[in-house]
């Protein structure tokens, strides 16, 4: 047992003797998780939606108010004279012009066009366009209701004059607006766990964090291959076997060294997710521990197998990150796996990354417990057993 511990400790010391290793162990995983989890949101956006209100009526004013509430872009009113200068501003996403006669047209029940002009950044314009569409759609529903009210009135009677007509329109508009505000909830979202309200943002954050955790633990564990190849090619393995140390002791020591580092890394990333990103990993700590243990064993086993396949340290050093990146990508750790085609979903059933991610999603999103994630943990253990068996079969001293 002491020998196993000594080999493990030697590998850990070797690995962290270079302080830059901390970049891969903690710094980059934290940066990637933070940036990709969506926590930063759109805090960096400072674009403006400029509005030229040529109509200056109560309806055009209501549209401007609606625009303000419909999205994240800041809405600012400008005059006709300021349009040219505003177009030159870097933070202008788009300019919306509400033409003169806007209210009059709508009162008559006629259609009217609003001009939305792109001024620069395409992405910012897309956001501005979405904001305008939302506001116009909401106002359009109210206008439609007011128009219906006018049509129905005129089918049955006549207005005394234009003032009476406009007044009736305004009253209808106000009643319609109030009715839309007071609409009850029509869709109720439910998840298997009754206590949890479904929030898309939280679901995306859990998925992104889980994906990054798997990626950044998986690739270093595959680098077990480098440790094995290095011991073999530099001859230290042969030297070790001149002592009373057998193959199993060496392998167990090497694997334990990698696993201990991975467990610490996973614990730190989970804690970071909980306390900094507000990630909820579910209700089952035993489930989380079992799943991550099974995943780390499968990854180390694959790394060990790669170590027996690589002919040199350099080859192992190249093989580990590429294999890790491709498996993480196809396993759904970088892109939402829900959008993968059925073919990809069939192929990725043969990857440990897929099962690890599914297990973490089951814990964090579906709020399942230890018993329910045992199938995923079991499959990961099967991966571990198969990879270890192949690695031991392939193992060579030189």
């Amino acid at each position: 047992m002491k020998k196993i511990y000594n080999i493990a400790w030697k590998d850990i010391k070797n690995r962290f003797s270079n302080p830059t290793e901390l970049m891969f162990f903690l710094v980059l995983p934290i940066i990637f998780t933070y940036l990709l989890s969506g926590t930063i949101g759109s805090s960096g956006e400072t674009y403006q939606l400029l509005v030229v209100d040529q109509d200056q009526t109560s309806l055009s004013g209501q549209l401007v108010e609606g625009l303000d509430a419909a999205g994240s872009l800041q809405v600012e009113l400008i005059s006709n004279d300021d349009v040219e200068a505003a177009t030159e501003e870097d933070n202008t996403a788009a300019i919306l012009t509400i033409p003169a006669g806007f209210q009059e047209c709508l009162y008559r029940g006629d259609s009217i066009d609003l001009a939305l002009e792109e001024t620069g950044d395409e992405g910012a314009y897309d956001a501005a366009e979405q904001q305008v569409f939302t506001a116009v759609e909401q106002m359009g529903q109210v206008i439609l209701a007011a128009n219906v009210s006018m049509v129905e009135y005129e089918k049955r009677g006549e207005f005394a004059d234009d003032t009476a007509r406009n007044m009736y329109y305004e009253e209808s508009y106000i009643r319609a607006e109030a009715a839309f505000i007071d609409l009850p909830q029509r869709v109720e979202m439910r998840t298997p766990d009754e206590g949890v309200i479904y929030e898309r943002e939280n679901a995306s954050n859990v998925q992104a964090s889980a994906g990054q955790l798997i990626t950044w633990v998986f690739i270093p564990l595959l680098a077990t291959a480098v440790v094995l190849a290095d011991e073999r090619t530099t001859g230290t393995l042969r030297r070790l076997f001149t002592t009373p140390t057998n193959k199993a002791t060496f392998l167990l020591g090497t694997i334990l060294g990698q696993l201990l580092a991975a467990w610490v890394q996973m614990a730190l990333l989970v804690i970071f997710g909980i306390h900094v990103l507000g990630i909820d990993w579910g209700n089952s700590i035993p489930g989380l521990v079992v799943l991550l243990l099974a995943f780390s064993l499968a990854a180390t086993a694959l790394g060990t197998l790669l170590g027996t396949l690589a002919r040199s340290t350099e080859q192992a050093g190249g093989l580990a990150p590429i294999t890790g990146m491709v498996m993480a990508l196809v396993g759904g750790c970088w892109y939402p796996g829900e959008l993968f085609s059925d073919t990809v979903k069939t192929v990725n059933q043969f990857l440990p990354t897929t099962w690890a991610l599914q297990g973490l999603n089951d814990l964090g999103l579906r709020r399942l417990g230890l018993v329910e994630i045992l199938p995923e943990a079991g499959i990961l253990m099967i991966f571990a057993a198969v990879f270890f068996a192949l690695a031991i079969w392939r193992f060579r001293y030189e």
Partner: protein
């Protein structure tokens, strides 16, 4: 000059003989293939839908006509590409299907759904549709939700319209209160069939900046991203390392003992890094053109952009070598830089990038500039359209080389 080229060509040969050299060629291919595979880029090329329709199970317990209308709308042919609807009679079974992961969502329409919206109590009565979801698929869930809300919004608009009209007519004495239900229903039905003659009114005319519509292959964005990701690995991890390796292996002092100035040797090493980078990008671009029939765009533009991209990236590699103390350090830092720039420059998102401040910070990476350039070329742009991109990369490379030279001099790395 000959000495510069000799040193540079020697490094090119060494890089491709090196066993690590294959990573810089296999890496971009493997990841481009994997990205094309998972993002459906290959399906887009073949005209097949990249994303399969979302599976939804519907239970219609509604006793009125609205539930039936909703099911009919959800099963309409126009929505087949988006939604794959299965009708189930039991709510419990539908929820089980979702629990088992067979469906993304179960829509359970309550027995009084029609009554809640169309009945006398109308708009105030709550009887929501239950949307029981599989939370592991947030994007698909939001698609289904927005579709349902679209339908409900349309129905609500009709109901609000009839209620507002009826209350106005009663107020004006044009109908009697006892006629309200009958007239309201007539107006509501006219709304659904669009026979009321009342238009919605406002149309937004989008005036986008005029751009020629070009059909860009998704792989034409993914492949440059991966090529740039691994270019950073090459110029820093391999190129930068070779400079320090010369010193560690003792070949640098040997070179300096010949009548060759230290600056020339450094220049030669820089040329070596650039040549390796150019060769890598050229091979990746050439091979993807042949294997995937990928069109990279205007040839002259591609050649100039390759050189500029490598120059900008090589600047980072040389700077890293100037600050690093050992070859191991430069290798590790090179890999870290590759990943960090890949994230910040958008290589991991197929050339897309963060918005706002992060997008601006991303401009320190050659990845962001070069990917932007390759996207311009893929969109039928020419060399003339690349002026800003090329200038950005050249300025980046020049600045970084200047700083690197200063650091090399200060540390005396180019002296015997």
């Amino acid at each position: 000059m000959v000495k510069l080229l000799v040193i540079g060509l020697k490094d090119l040969k060494v890089a491709f003989r090196d066993r690590v050299g294959w990573i810089m060629l296999v890496g971009p291919f493997a990841l481009t293939l994997a990205m094309g595979f998972v993002t459906g880029a290959f399906s887009v090329s073949t005209g097949e839908p990249a994303i399969e329709a979302t599976k939804v199970v519907v239970v219609n317990e509604d006793e009125g006509e609205l539930g039936e209308a909703m099911v009919t709308w959800l099963r309409d042919e126009s929505l087949h590409a988006v939604l794959n609807i299965t009708v189930e009679s039991s709510a419990a079974r539908a929820r089980d299907h979702v629990d088992e992961g067979d469906f993304v969502a179960a829509l359970i329409l309550p027995f009084d759904f029609s009554e809640a919206i169309l009945g006398a109590e109308g708009l105030e009565q709550e009887s929501p549709i239950e949307m029981y979801v599989y939370p592991g698929q947030p994007i698909r869930v939001s698609i289904v939700r927005s579709m349902i809300e679209r339908f409900v919004a349309r129905v609500d608009a009709g109901v609000v319209s009839s209620k507002v009209a009826v209350s106005g007519l009663i107020g004006a004495g044009l109908i009697q209160p006892q006629e309200a239900n009958k007239v309201g229903r007539e107006i509501g039905e006219a709304q659904v069939t669009m026979e009321s003659g009342a238009a919605a009114g406002i149309t937004v005319q989008s005036q986008r900046v005029e751009e020629e519509e070009v059909d860009i292959q998704p792989l034409a964005l993914l492949a440059p991203s991966m090529a740039m990701l691994f270019l950073m690995y090459t110029v820093s991890g391999i190129g930068g390392r070779s400079i320090l390796a010369e010193r560690e292996d003792g070949t640098l002092p040997r070179m300096l003992s010949t009548p060759t100035d230290g600056a020339w040797i450094l220049g030669g090493k820089v040329i070596g890094v650039v040549l390796v980078g150019v060769a890598q990008l050229a091979i990746v671009i050439g091979a993807t053109s042949l294997l995937f029939k990928l069109e990279w765009g205007d040839t002259i533009g591609v050649v100039v952009l390759i050189v500029a991209a490598v120059f900008g990236a090589a600047g980072w590699g040389i700077l890293l070598a100037a600050f690093a103390r050992t070859t191991e350090q430069v290798s590790t830092m090179g890999s870290a830089l590759m990943l960090f720039f890949g994230l910040l420059g958008g290589s991991f998102f197929g050339g897309g990038s963060f918005g706002g401040v992060l997008g601006t910070i991303g401009k320190i990476t050659p990845n962001a500039w070069a990917q932007e350039g390759f996207a311009i070329l893929a969109g039928a742009g020419t060399l003339a359209d690349l002026q800003g991109t090329i200038l950005g990369l050249v300025v980046m490379g020049s600045l970084l080389f200047s700083v690197a030279v200063l650091v090399f001099r200060r540390r005396g790395l180019m002296r015997c």
